[in-house]
């Protein structure tokens, strides 16, 4: 057992199982993945991530600080990230909006960092303690300009741990900001969580010593030469359009090339980046495509549907962006309907429709009242779709 899991251990039910809150699991995943810098600003429902980091980071030689706002938080993380330190910040909608300019900057300068957005009902202050998936398209397109995005979605406590680690890994390997979306329910719920998971995926060992030359050994080849501050090479880092030397350029050919390469390093690696899980594969006439807390409901809905004899499969997406085009189209080819339950008014359903409408009918099932979609609601909708089909 690693010493920085003191907090988690306090919640141990017995020696092999912990009762852990989603936000805590996220922080533990980050620590295990080697995150040693965290700057944030309090916001419900994400604050426990920051509080756990405040407690644990000083114990492992890392740096924690609470900044004056979310803009400062993400900027400090980028500054740290460019020294080779793994950095993370966490927030919710209003703070995520403030971070957008810097997310574009991190993308442009290829700074590896993780941004967690535990979503609450918006717009604006909205409902701070109610779950939502309203920031999905903001996670994709919130910052200005043409840019790639890596966006993951956690559906339970174990996901908060695993996907935080995945996000750290993606951020390093692709040298880009990676966004992990959760929602209020996933962030705040407590679930049993195997102690065996903890510490198993640690990427760094020993106390982190801020080695300036640290560069992840397995970067994808499309990454531009990383410019690490403190590495004695005197790199220049700028958010202006630049070439592989790091210096600004107005050259149309070079700008074009740079921007395309930024996209390619994500788009060319969808096979690695797109995480998903198909349940009851090939046996459904309706496929429920879900992510985040709706995927939990979808998985439960599958069990109900089986009992009721409804032919359903579930595509649980852990990666929302880059778009998992291949699996969506594969499933679309074999089902009559794709039902997309979401805690928003169909943001991701529109993306799926673009990919799948040649083969299947995509039905959006949005809910924005600040409560979860229940398995019953989903199954009822499935039954309705199948019934409608039967009567045609």
């Amino acid at each position: 057992m690693e010493r920085w899991h003191y907090h988690a251990l306090q919640e141990a039910i017995d020696s092999s199982t912990l009762l852990v809150q989603g936000n805590r699991a996220c922080a533990l995943g980050a620590l295990d993945a080697g995150v040693r810098f965290f700057a944030g600003y309090p916001i419900t429902p994400s604050s426990e991530i920051m509080e756990t980091m405040a407690y644990e980071l000083p114990r492992v030689g890392g740096v924690f600080l609470q900044m004056e706002d979310e803009i400062a938080s993400i900027c400090a993380c980028i500054g740290a990230a460019l020294t080779g330190t793994l950095a993370m910040t966490a927030t919710s909608g209003p703070g995520f909006s403030l971070m957008q300019e810097a997310i574009g900057y991190a993308t442009m300068v290829e700074a590896p960092l993780v941004i967690v957005n535990v979503m609450r009902v918006g717009p604006s202050t909205g409902r701070p303690t109610a779950p939502s998936q309203g920031d999905v398209m903001q996670a994709r397109w919130g910052t200005h300009g043409d840019h790639p995005a890596v966006v993951l979605a956690a559906s339970n406590v174990a996901d908060m741990y695993r996907l935080t680690m995945a996000a750290v890994r993606f951020a390093q390997r692709f040298r880009t900001p990676a966004i992990l979306l959760a929602d209020e329910v996933v962030g705040h719920m407590r679930e049993s969580f195997s102690t065996e998971l903890i510490g198993r995926y640690r990427l760094t060992s020993g106390d982190f010593d801020f080695t300036p030359s640290y560069v992840h050994p397995e970067m994808v080849r499309e990454v531009h030469p990383p410019h690490v501050l403190g590495s004695k090479t005197h790199p220049h880092v700028t958010g202006l359009m630049h070439d592989e030397t790091g210096f600004p350029t107005d050259d149309p050919a070079k700008s074009d090339q740079f921007l395309r390469q930024l996209h390619d390093k994500i788009g060319n690696h969808r096979d690695e980046l797109c995480l998903y899980d198909v349940k009851n594969e090939g046996k459904g006439r309706v496929c429920i495509v879900a992510y985040g807390s709706c995927a939990r409901s979808a998985r439960a809905a599958l069990r109900l549907a089986e009992q009721e004899g409804l032919p359903v499969e579930v595509l649980h997406l852990y990666t929302l962006f880059p778009l998992p085009v291949e699996i969506i189209q594969e499933v679309a080819r074999r089902v009559e309907f794709m039902l997309v339950p979401e805690l928003n008014l169909g943001q991701y359903a529109r993306e799926i429709r673009k990919m799948a409408e040649n083969w299947t009918t995509v039905i959006s099932m949005g809910k924005v009242d600040g409560t979860l979609l229940t398995p019953r609601e989903i199954v009822d909708r499935v039954a309705e779709l199948i019934g409608k089909y039967e009567s045609v």
Binding site: R36, F37, A39, P58, R59, G61, V63, L65, M67, E68, D69, I71, A72, S73, C75, A76, C77, I78, G79, A80, A81, L82, T83, T85, A87, E101, A102, Y105, F210, P212, L229, G230, K232, H234, P235, H236, V237, T238, G239, L240, F247, P248, D250
Partner: protein, 308 residues
């Protein structure tokens, strides 16, 4: 309009002759020259003093990083042959904070404009000073937003004309030095761009001092500020500042006012010591901050806001 926007940069590059060898060539990215600054701009003078100061400081060049925001001044980072970091508008200080805390062994300089540091970035400035992050912040105060064509800034004097105060500015400017001191900066100085020797000395002191240091330079922006206020060339403006300046080392920064009708107070106003964020962070690591409220015998970790 004659402002060094991104689009005119190329034009200027083509029309200017290549500069001769400079005594600080090894500190410069000569392949990035000519620079974007207008003839007569004060930023160049400040940049020159900074080069001398870096050399004089004796700090290892591999361990100095320069962080800039966005603006004409913000372009300084790109011409220095150091680790250089051209960030987003207003955010140089938080970027620098992350850099410094993740890599404490390095010296981190922030060089940016008055608008960048005190309008959009004002909140970051006051909190970094309060936290006493070990940074050296250099502000080129040219009394307006140069890069975007000369709009009003939090430094623009009452009555001065800018593109967004066409009949004169009706707001009072900040006294940045007083603000810095009040927020807890441990080194505060102000000079005009013609006080090259004093400025260079201050920069050396600020860079080698542990703690949040602030050095402000009143510098001419003939292209946007000078022209609209009929103050002549860059040299005329620099003289205008210098002639009115009075050196008042050690006075209360609240009294270090910029009164363009009478006198412009310059000098070193604060040079004090208190633990930095990282000093105190060690107490967190060792879990030795103590129980608050502290008893008399146990208040070793703060030292108020000594002005001098």
């Amino acid at each position: 309009m004659k402002t060094p926007t991104e689009t005119t940069t190329r034009l200027r590059r083509q029309t200017r002759a290549r500069p001769k060898a400079h005594p600080h060539d090894h500190l410069l990215r000569t392949d990035r020259m000519p620079h974007i600054w207008c003839p007569g701009c004060g930023i160049g003078t400040v940049f020159g003093c900074l080069l001398t100061a870096i050399e004089k400081s004796g700090l290892p060049l591999d361990d100095i990083a320069i962080v800039s925001g966005i603006g004409c001044t913000g372009r300084m980072a790109g011409y220095l042959n150091l680790d250089s970091f051209h960030t987003t508008h207003g955010r140089a200080i938080p970027f620098a904070t992350g850099l410094k805390l993740a890599r404490p062994q390095g010296t981190v300089l922030v060089a940016s404009g008055d608008g960048d540091l005190f309008a959009i970035g004002g909140n970051h400035f006051i909190h970094a000073a309060r936290r006493n992050i070990d940074l050296t912040v250099i502000c080129v105060n040219n009394l307006n937003y140069g890069m975007t064509g000369g709009q009003v800034a939090p430094s623009t004097p009452f009555g001065a004309r800018t593109t967004t105060t066409p009949v004169g500015n009706i707001e009072e400017p900040f006294n940045f030095c007083s603000l810095a001191a009040e927020c807890g900066a441990t080194y505060v100085a102000r000079w005009t761009s013609l006080h090259a020797r004093w400025l260079t000395d201050s920069l050396v002191e600020a860079m080698t001092k542990k703690g949040f240091s602030y050095v402000e330079v009143l510098a001419p922006c003939p292209t946007t500020f000078g022209r609209r206020n009929r103050l002549g060339s860059g040299a005329d403006l620099a003289r205008f500042f210098h002639e009115r300046s009075v050196i008042r080392n050690g006075i209360d920064p609240r009294e270090a006012v910029l009164d363009f009708e009478k006198h412009l107070v310059v000098g070193k106003f604060v040079d004090s010591t208190r633990p930095t964020f990282l000093d105190n962070y060690e107490l967190v690591r060792r879990r030795e901050v103590g129980e608050w409220p502290f008893r008399e015998e146990h208040t070793p970790h703060t030292s108020g806001r000594a002005h001098n």
